[in-house]
């Protein structure tokens, strides 16, 4: 029996998180169908049909799905859920918002943020901010799971799925979209960047946080932050890396002025190489870092910027 994957998209482009959820879903129950719900989002459905392993794309194109609000999305998913062995969504704020509603209505428990598919009904997932890994076996019946995207490789392109248009489910009409303010950046997305440079309280101000920009530009890195930096108003909430923010696992993670609270480490400790720059040599971040540089970041950051320029990074 097939798995159904909820597509992550913004009506214009299919997000990489979908490809990663497809990888997980293929391990649970192949083939995979992808549900693309949005408004004027046919291009997204076309992209989803090209993912290897995707047999069919269900396209629900209606104004009610323009923002993928949880209530109409619940109704839509329930209208197609019947035949599927598994319903899988990436553990993005969209997937986390919608999927538990579906699980509750199907009276099926949900496995959140799976790290690994051990067998089609058994999964590893992080608990206690990733300080313990739980291996759980789901009961017989449908599998409902969200997927920690940092631990699954994206499914390859090269599929040739069909696209089936499906009709909208009745909108419960109890919620409506008002507005949004999205951070705009030309840099790579935090969750899929190869290099991430994050700042913490040590940067001291929103103005100082900009010291990271020039380095990030040279390295084509995304910029992230610790909770302390977000709480202090240096940067917006979507920069936050950690237990309750975003989980990242880039090739290189540079933590600048971040002491390393367990809640922050939970979101970045799967990075391949970790570099820490901090003036406090006893900061917990150094226990995790592959390379640590102890010193005043206001001296080190300009030096780093200059040294990168010297070595030909622009």
């Amino acid at each position: 029996m097939a798995s159904l994957v909820l597509a992550e998209h913004d009506n214009a482009a299919l997000k990489d998180a979908t490809h990663k959820a497809v990888t997980a879903a293929l391990q649970v129950s192949a083939p995979v169908h992808v549900l693309v719900a949005g408004e004027n989002c046919e291009v997204v459905a076309q992209a989803a049909a090209k993912i290897a392993g995707v047999e069919k794309v269900l396209l629900a194109d209606a104004p009610a799905y323009a923002r993928q609000l949880a209530e109409p999305m619940e109704a839509l998913i329930l209208s197609v859920a019947g035949p599927y062995a598994a319903i899988v969504a990436p553990a993005t704020t969209t997937g986390k918002n919608i999927l538990p509603r579906v699980a509750a209505k199907l009276d099926t428990p949900q496995v959140s943020e799976i790290l690994k598919v051990v067998s089609p009904d058994t999964f590893e997932r992080p608990i206690y901010a990733g300080n313990a890994i739980e291996t759980v076996q789901a009961p017989q019946g449908k599998i409902i799971a969200t997927v920690r995207t940092t631990t699954f490789a994206p499914a390859a392109e090269g599929g040739n799925g069909t696209i089936e248009k499906i009709s909208a489910a009745p909108d419960p009409g109890c919620s409506s979209f008002v507005s949004e303010s999205l951070s705009k950046s030309d840099r790579p997305e935090l969750t899929s960047a190869k290099i991430v440079i994050s700042g913490g309280r040590g940067l001291g101000s929103a103005e100082n946080f900009k010291l990271l920009d020039s380095i990030a530009d040279k390295l084509h890195a995304a910029v992230g932050a610790s909770r302390a930096a977000v709480d202090a108003g240096f940067v917006p909430n979507d920069y936050q890396v950690g237990q309750t923010g975003k989980a990242v696992a880039p090739d290189l993670y540079m933590a600048v002025g971040i002491s390393g609270a367990i809640q922050h480490l939970a979101g970045m400790k799967d990075s391949k190489v970790i570099v820490a720059i901090n003036k406090d040599e006893d900061a917990p971040i150094f226990q995790l870092a592959d390379y640590g540089l102890v010193g005043d970041l206001f001296k080190i950051l300009p030096e780093l910027d200059e040294e990168l320029a010297k070595r030909g990074y622009k």
Binding site: T93, A103, A138, P139, S175, L182, V273, Y291
Partner: protein, 248 residues
């Protein structure tokens, strides 16, 4: 309007958890326990609604062992009016929690439920959404700010790309994110007053909910450890290191 605030007793967020040697779980013996930080934010928001005259009564509910009544007392000391303890010594999975809360909502008839977006022990992030679905209510999850209207609420949500504002008809479920507010410390007089506030005790069976676990936890293990790192002296040294070099 009445506001219902579900709160959970969890390992204090400062405690470094230890996995038991037999991999049956984490060691909870003699570990400091506290209210789930996101639930503390929920209590604060509810109490502020009451102080602004937008709520008449704040009722706190917790599901857990007898000691969870201490967590309820903490909420009462922050300004909640009364508590309900649904007493059980077993692990209650998110779906069963949502079912218990649904039963509590049906008897209490609140106009709003505010709770944490996730508990920092099982990190599931499910209960608010499940409760809303079971009740057929709308939800405003990961709330960054909350603005109450007459028969609706505007919730600004922390989403991956930034902030999104939705309007939900009441009754509704709101789950809190970190920036919604900064919870107060209870004052000594309020702690004393909280001792006199009522806590009603129930069991899941009283509410007609089956809380038998549906998942089988096969094991709980330590995450892979990272190898120890080295300190470097200068920026140039850092960039010369083989691994950094390979990456950039």
């Amino acid at each position: 309007m009445k506001v219902l605030v579900p709160v959970k007793r969890v390992i204090d967020y400062n405690v470094k958890v230890r996995v038991k040697a037999d991999q049956s779980g984490v060691d909870l013996a003699n570990v400091k326990m506290s209210m789930n930080p996101f639930d503390e934010i929920a209590v604060e928001e509810a109490v502020r609604l009451k102080e602004k005259g937008k709520a008449m009564e704040v009722v706190v509910v917790s599901i857990g062992p007898q000691q969870a009544s201490e967590t309820i007392r903490t909420a009462l000391a922050m300004g909640a009016d009364r508590g309900i303890l649904v007493k059980t010594d077993q692990t209650v999975e998110p779906l069963a929690v949502a079912k218990i809360l649904k039963a509590v909502v049906e008897s209490e008839q609140p106009g709003l439920v505010i709770t944490g977006k996730q508990a920092i022990d099982d990190d599931s992030n499910q209960v608010g959404q499940m409760l809303a679905a079971l009740l057929g209510w709308p939800q405003g999850t990961f709330a960054h700010s909350l603005e109450m209207g007459g028969d609706s609420a505007k919730v600004t949500r922390e989403i991956d790309g930034g902030l999104q504002t939705v309007e939900v008809k009441l009754p509704a479920v709101v789950t809190t994110d970190l920036r919604l507010n900064e919870p107060r410390y209870a004052s000594l007089p309020n702690i004393m007053k909280a001792k006199k506030k009522p806590i009603d005790e129930k069991s899941a069976a009283d509410l007609g909910v089956d809380i038998a676990p549906r998942f089988k936890v096969l094991k709980v293990s330590e995450p892979p450890k990272r190898g120890g790192g080295v300190k470097v002296a200068t920026v140039a040294d850092l960039l010369d290191k083989r691994k950094t070099d390979v990456v950039i």
